[in-house]
């Protein structure tokens, strides 16, 4: 048997210097490499950048502080991520058919995307009918929710609702639970889009009450859920909108953490125990094709959150320190040109999220850039997750990129960048003040323009857009998802009939109670929303009442 080689003959003294010399000689003029967060990327990372002796301090073990390697001891090997595809189109019956089909194909959690009219606080009879059901399901009442979830075991499946303040969709779900005899304590899931600050910053898609009212309703909602729907996550802090709007990955993480701190501060200010509400905080992020940067973003965010929560709030429950997050592959990276290429992009994005340690994943359909996804496109998006999990075995090893010199060095650098951006917001008085003043909106707008300039100059290649173009005509593009106008018309007319035949006194009484709660600082507004939904009030009636009592949140014009 050969003697083992002497390490010195493999890497003699001065090997690093020799490599540097040879690299410089052979590369000629080196390319400047910088990731989207502005961090310079070196050609090689070694144990000079990170060495294994720092494993325990920097990383720890999965399920242990600082959670760099993951928030659970078993991570994806024990329980895979929730496969949560966004669904929403047409009428409740259309939604139910799509949901049932996706459950058959392996979707393990429910998501519900309502129509833009719902997002904006209106019932279907208050908006242009051309816009109904084109981007989400038209759900305006507890009856509609019941129809959406017909045949679905709501006590056995986690339900994520894209449900901005005042959270009528959860109120409708709770009304359905009562009808079906399912206890609130069995209801699990997340109020996606509960983060009103992210809506003010970067996604004006949602109805909003003026900032002070929005702030109060969120705290009421968290308080209500912690007491009565204990397995529900009332707070989803959203970084996704901000990154989609142009924030760099580091900025998106920083502003999200700043938002989480703001909301936690608000809960503490009303006397809530951090260990009672922090375990129910979740996060929602965009994941771009900038693969290593995204992996590092998530690992760094997890580490920062655990430390912040312990230091700032003295949280003791390990569940308070765990940075649970859902990721959605970034639609901004997808191209209309050669749209099938989007399948490759989504695969890469999904891998970055998985290696980043996500708990829940939505993969975009390749045709999302053309229209609301077709069922065919949605099926490929689900299959992509199934392939990554069961064919490629990405779930076998926990944090498989951990210990890579590059990934660890980049995680540390992203952490620094995130902390810098976070400090800028905190110095401006925290996220609420920084949003009120427009600071965060301006920073994101600048980043969006910088990225676009790189695309325009060709510094950032987008395949099929500014490079590797082919001539395409309409016939090269896949068919898009149509909206059945007849079904929408029938839905509208049934709604009008139903509204007219409701016991009007009961509706008026519930809305009056809601208005009084809005004007009584000791009352819980969300409890009023739940009662109104249960009494048969519609989404538009509830939003309209609160808009009247608490004021409307206008959009600032910031270019």
């Amino acid at each position: 048997m050969n003697k083992p080689l002497d390490a010195r003959t493999l890497a003699p003294a001065g090997a690093d210097e020799r490599w540097k010399r040879e690299y410089a000689e052979q590369i000629g003029r080196d390319r400047a490499c910088e990731n989207r967060s502005g961090i310079a990327i070196k050609p090689l990372y070694t144990n000079a950048d990170w060495d294994g002796t720092r494993h325990d301090a920097d990383l720890g073990y999965p399920g242990q502080p600082p959670y760099t390697r993951g928030i659970y001891a078993t991570m994806h090997r024990g329980r895979t991520w929730s496969q949560r595809q966004l669904i929403g189109l047409g009428t409740p019956a259309d939604y139910n058919a799509r949901l049932t089909a996706l459950i058959d194909q392996g979707t393990t959690a429910i998501s519900l995307i309502p129509c833009n009219s719902v997002f904006r606080g209106y019932d279907m009879d208050e908006v242009d009918p051309e816009l109904l059901g084109t981007c989400g399901v038209v759900v305006n009442s507890a009856d509609h929710m019941d129809e959406c979830l017909a045949g679905v075991d709501i006590g056995g499946m986690s339900c994520a609702m894209n449900d901005p303040s005042p959270f009528t969709l959860l109120a409708f779900l709770l009304a359905v639970a009562r009808r079906r005899g399912v206890p609130f304590s069995a209801i699990t899931g997340t109020s996606n889009q509960s983060d009103y600050l992210s809506h003010y910053v970067a996604n004006h898609m949602f109805f909003r009450i003026a900032l002070p009212g929005a702030r109060r309703i969120l705290a009421d909602h968290i308080d209500f859920c912690v007491r009565w729907v204990p397995r529900w996550n009332p707070m989803s802090v959203v970084g996704q909108h901000m990154q989609q709007a142009g924030a760099t990955p580091a900025q998106a993480m920083a502003f999200t953490l700043a938002t989480a701190l703001q909301n936690a501060d608000d809960c503490v200010a009303r006397g809530m125990d951090p260990d009672a509400f922090l375990p129910r905080f979740t996060f929602f992020f965009d994941v771009s094709v900038s693969f290593f940067e995204e992996v590092a973003k998530f690992r760094a965010g997890r580490r920062i959150w655990a430390r912040l929560v312990r230091e700032r709030y003295g949280a003791k429950d390990p569940r308070s320190l765990r940075f649970k997050f859902h990721a959605q592959t970034s639609g901004v990276d997808l191209t209309r040109q050669q749209p099938l290429n989007n399948i490759a992009r989504v695969t890469l994005q999904a891998m970055a999220g998985i290696f980043g340690g996500l708990q829940s994943l939505h993969t975009d359909a390749y045709d999302e850039v053309l229209s609301c996804p077709t069922e065919f496109g949605a099926r490929i998006a689900v299959a992509t997750q199934n392939i990554l999990r069961e064919e490629a075995h990405l779930t076998d090893v926990i944090d498989p990129l951990g210990g890579s010199y590059y990934v660890e060095a980049l995680t540390a650098q992203m952490e620094e960048a995130i902390l810098r951006d976070l400090a800028a917001v905190q110095d401006a008085g925290g996220m609420y003040a920084a949003v009120e003043s427009g600071l965060v909106q301006r920073l994101i707008g600048e980043s969006a323009r910088r990225f676009q300039a790189k695309v325009e100059s060709g510094e950032q290649t987008i395949v099929g857009v500014n490079a590797y173009r082919v001539d395409e005509t309409a016939s090269d593009r896949p068919p898009v998802q149509g909206v059945a106008d007849d079904a929408i018309r029938a839905h509208l007319s049934a709604f009008a009939t139903w509204k007219a035949t409701r016991p009007q006194a009961r509706i008026a009484k519930a809305l009056d109670a809601l208005a009084r709660a809005a004007n009584d600082a000791r009352a819980n507004v969300f409890a009023g929303v739940v009662a109104a939904a249960d009494a048969g009030c519609t989404h538009g009636e509830i939003c309209g009442t609160l808009r009247r009592e608490l004021g409307f949140g206008h959009v600032q014009a910031i270019v």
Binding site: L131, A557, V559
Partner: protein, 143 residues
């Protein structure tokens, strides 16, 4: 001699994704145009009034989530207000079949994702002289 185009960049309908409208507005402004930018959620009446009051050459509608489906209503409202010398352009996610519908309704041009900002600016400059003429404006000399 240069003509400074006057452009209203806005969003009608329900959606509020404004990355595109903000980036385009900022670029047109930096390219030397006079830009009137509004946040999302404008009503059709508000857009028509703004176009009248500001005497704009072009209305740019950004649509990411099917709001383009009510652009034909905007076209009718502009015609009712006799704003025929104003061009409407639409940018964003517009399926092919809908593009045909928009052009049929009188939209001057639809810009799809991946369009360069310069292409939009060059197009606007190319159509402004004829629009001014249609509205009976003398082409103003600018320094």
């Amino acid at each position: 001699m240069t003509t400074i185009p006057k452009v209203l960049v806005t969003k009608i309908g329900l959606d509020g994704h404004d990355r595109g409208s903000r980036v385009v507005a900022a670029h047109l402004r930096d390219a030397g145009m006079e830009v009137i930018y509004t946040p999302p959620w404008q009503s059709i009446d508000a857009v028509v009034n703004l176009a009248l009051e500001e005497d704009v050459d072009v209305i740019g509608i950004s649509s990411l989530a099917t709001d383009h489906r009510i652009v034909p209503k905007l076209m009718r409202a502009l015609a009712d207000a006799q704003l025929d010398g104003v061009a409407v352009i639409v940018g964003g996610i517009v399926p092919d079949a809908d593009e045909a519908m928009l052009l049929e309704a009188g939209v001057a041009r639809v810009f799809h994702p991946g369009t360069s900002l310069d292409e939009i600016a060059v197009y606007i400059r190319s159509i402004v002289p004829a629009l001014r003429e249609a509205r009976g404006h003398a082409l103003e000399d600018q320094p």
